[in-house]
């Protein structure tokens, strides 16, 4: 069964769609592979080692960790978010509207749902790769303290899915990329900065803390930290997991519909 495709085999179609996205990526992998490897090193060197040196001199440990160890997991979480965001807005609209290769794909036995899931699993695959690289880099900087840190790549995948699924769903509904920049600047930049990423939640004034806890990335950061240090209350961890999984699931439910509406109806 190489050339013909039984339309009933949903799994097979989904797999095709994954391959399709992977093949598209194969043309362009060079630049992004370099960034996958170098960006974590850059961030950890500058913020973890550089700023970390200053923090150690003045404050000492942060939540019982050196500053380098403290921010390493949150950099993994923010990178996972940025991957989901970067892959799901402009590239999806381009594939729908400018290059129109999703329309071409929809003219084959692939259903819009297959395209959606194929895209999502492909983004998740990339996130897994990035997560593995990141975890290795973090380990080289000596910031892993528990066997639980082996789950960091999976946490990266979950974070990516939590952002990617709803964003693809949204990108499938818009006519132009006008709103993307606004989303980026007013949602993702603040999220990157205000998710207790670079300093503990306790640094915020008391009345702001509940607000920060509603930010999706906060849960990703907290989860990654719990895994890296092997510390964290089960209740809190489950809460973070539930939050992220809920985002991904809602995204998938909506996204399958919006992409179908855009491509077929």
């Amino acid at each position: 069964m190489t050339d013909t495709l039984d339309p009933r085999l949903g799994w097979s179609r989904w797999r095709r769609s994954w391959w399709y996205h992977a093949a598209t990526y194969a043309h362009t992998w060079r630049g992004s592979v370099a960034s996958t490897i170098f960006f974590p090193i850059f961030y950890l060197a500058a913020l973890g080692v550089g700023v970390g040196h200053l923090v150690t001199q003045h404050t000492g440990l942060v939540q019982g960790q050196t500053y380098l160890h403290f921010i390493a997991p949150s950099l993994l979480a923010t990178t996972a978010m940025q991957l989901g965001e970067g892959e799901s807005l402009w590239p999806v609209l381009a594939a729908i509207k400018w290059i129109r290769n999703y329309h071409a794909a929809a003219a084959t036995p692939l259903e819009p749902e297959d395209i959606y899931l194929g895209k999502l699993t492909w983004v998740a695959t990339r996130s897994l790769g990035t997560g593995v690289v990141y975890t290795i880099v973090i380990a080289c900087f000596g910031a892993l303290q528990s066997w639980w840190s082996l789950t960091l790549p999976l946490i990266a995948v979950l974070i990516t899915l939590a952002f990617s699924a709803p964003l693809i769903a949204y990108a499938a509904t818009v006519q132009s990329d006008g709103s993307f920049m606004t989303i980026y600047r007013f949602a993702f930049v603040p999220m990157f900065l205000f998710s207790a990423t670079f300093y503990p939640l306790t640094a915020y004034p008391g009345y702001l803390r509940p607000v920060v806890q509603l930010v999706p990335l906060y849960h990703g950061v907290a989860l990654a930290r719990a895994a890296a240090f092997g510390r964290g209350a089960w209740g809190a961890v489950l809460c973070h997991l539930a939050f992220l999984i809920a985002m991904a699931v809602v995204g998938v439910i909506v996204g399958r519909r919006t992409l179908r509406r855009r491509l077929v109806d």
């Binding site: 630049g31 370099a34 900065l193 670079f198 300093y199």
Partner: protein, 262 residues
């Protein structure tokens, strides 16, 4: 090329390219306005948390808060990022995707007008952005002295330098994928140009290397001005930025000529 370009600094024709950009951005004003907020978010975030974690730093014998140390670096960075968006991203689109510049060249305008018009535009945008950033710095208490007003022209110079370099760089890009490479240059510049920690933290040889970064020169210049600490070396920094700007625009004009009117 520069000698040929210089007399055109008075040319009214290049102003029409400015006008064109203005017309395009009128329909994208949200993007323009939202650009004001990004550096503000950074300043706020650092003010809330890192400021306390890092504590005051000595700069030339004076102890300043971490936020006041970082703010000039952020100002320089925002000048660089704005130039990257306008002079690399948007210019690339018009040069290689929509070919809008080719149409412009069939009017009385020529290649030098196009390149200069883009620079005018970048400078105007930079003037507004830098002013708003400096106001935020003052309001958040991150300005070290009232000399901070001098950061305004210095930040505009920074934008000019990066815009000229960006115009030259964008002519070498072949497709959107090459923007990965742009990010690969931009991020280390941002992180390692002594924006987040003093250059004295580097081993000596590495510090000497960092000194070549235009972002470092700009950040150091802005920091000195913000704190009101004047030194002769600041003139060197200005000269370095001006030299890079001239090199960039000269190369850009030549490359534009080769691409648009071979």
């Amino acid at each position: 090329m520069l000698l040929r370009a210089l007399p055109r600094f008075g040319s009214r024709r290049s102003l029409h390219v400015f006008e064109r950009n203005f017309m395009v951005y009128r329909s994208q004003w949200i993007m323009l306005v939202s650009g004001f907020f990004e550096p503000l978010f950074y300043l706020l975030s650092i003010g809330i948390g890192l400021n306390h974690l890092v504590g005051p730093l000595p700069v030339n014998g004076r102890l300043v808060s971490y936020a006041a140390f970082v703010a000039p670096g952020m100002l320089a960075t925002s000048a660089m990022n704005g130039a990257v968006i306008d002079s690399i991203f948007n210019t690339f689109f018009r040069l290689k995707i929509s070919h809008a510049y080719e149409a412009v060249l069939s009017t009385p305008l020529d290649v030098a007008d196009v390149a200069l018009g883009e620079v005018w535009w970048a400078l105007t945008r930079a003037t507004a952005y830098a002013a708003s950033f400096i106001i935020c710095m003052v309001l958040l208490g991150d300005a070290g002295s009232s000399w901070v007003v001098l950061c305004w022209p210095a930040a505009i110079l920074t934008s000019l330098t990066f815009s000229c370099l960006g115009l030259a760089a964008c002519t070498y890009l072949r497709s959107w994928q090459d923007f990965d490479t742009v990010a690969l240059v931009q991020l280390p510049l941002f992180l390692f140009s002594a924006t987040f920690f003093p250059i004295s933290l580097y081993p000596h040889w590495l510090g000497a290397l960092v000194a070549f970064s235009p972002l470092y020169q700009s950040a150091a210049l802005l920091r000195g001005l913000s704190l009101g600490q004047f030194e002769w070396i600041m003139l060197m920094r200005v000269a370095y930025l001006v030299a890079l700007a001239i090199a960039g625009i000269t190369l850009a004009a030549r490359r534009f000529q080769r691409i648009l009117a071979p």
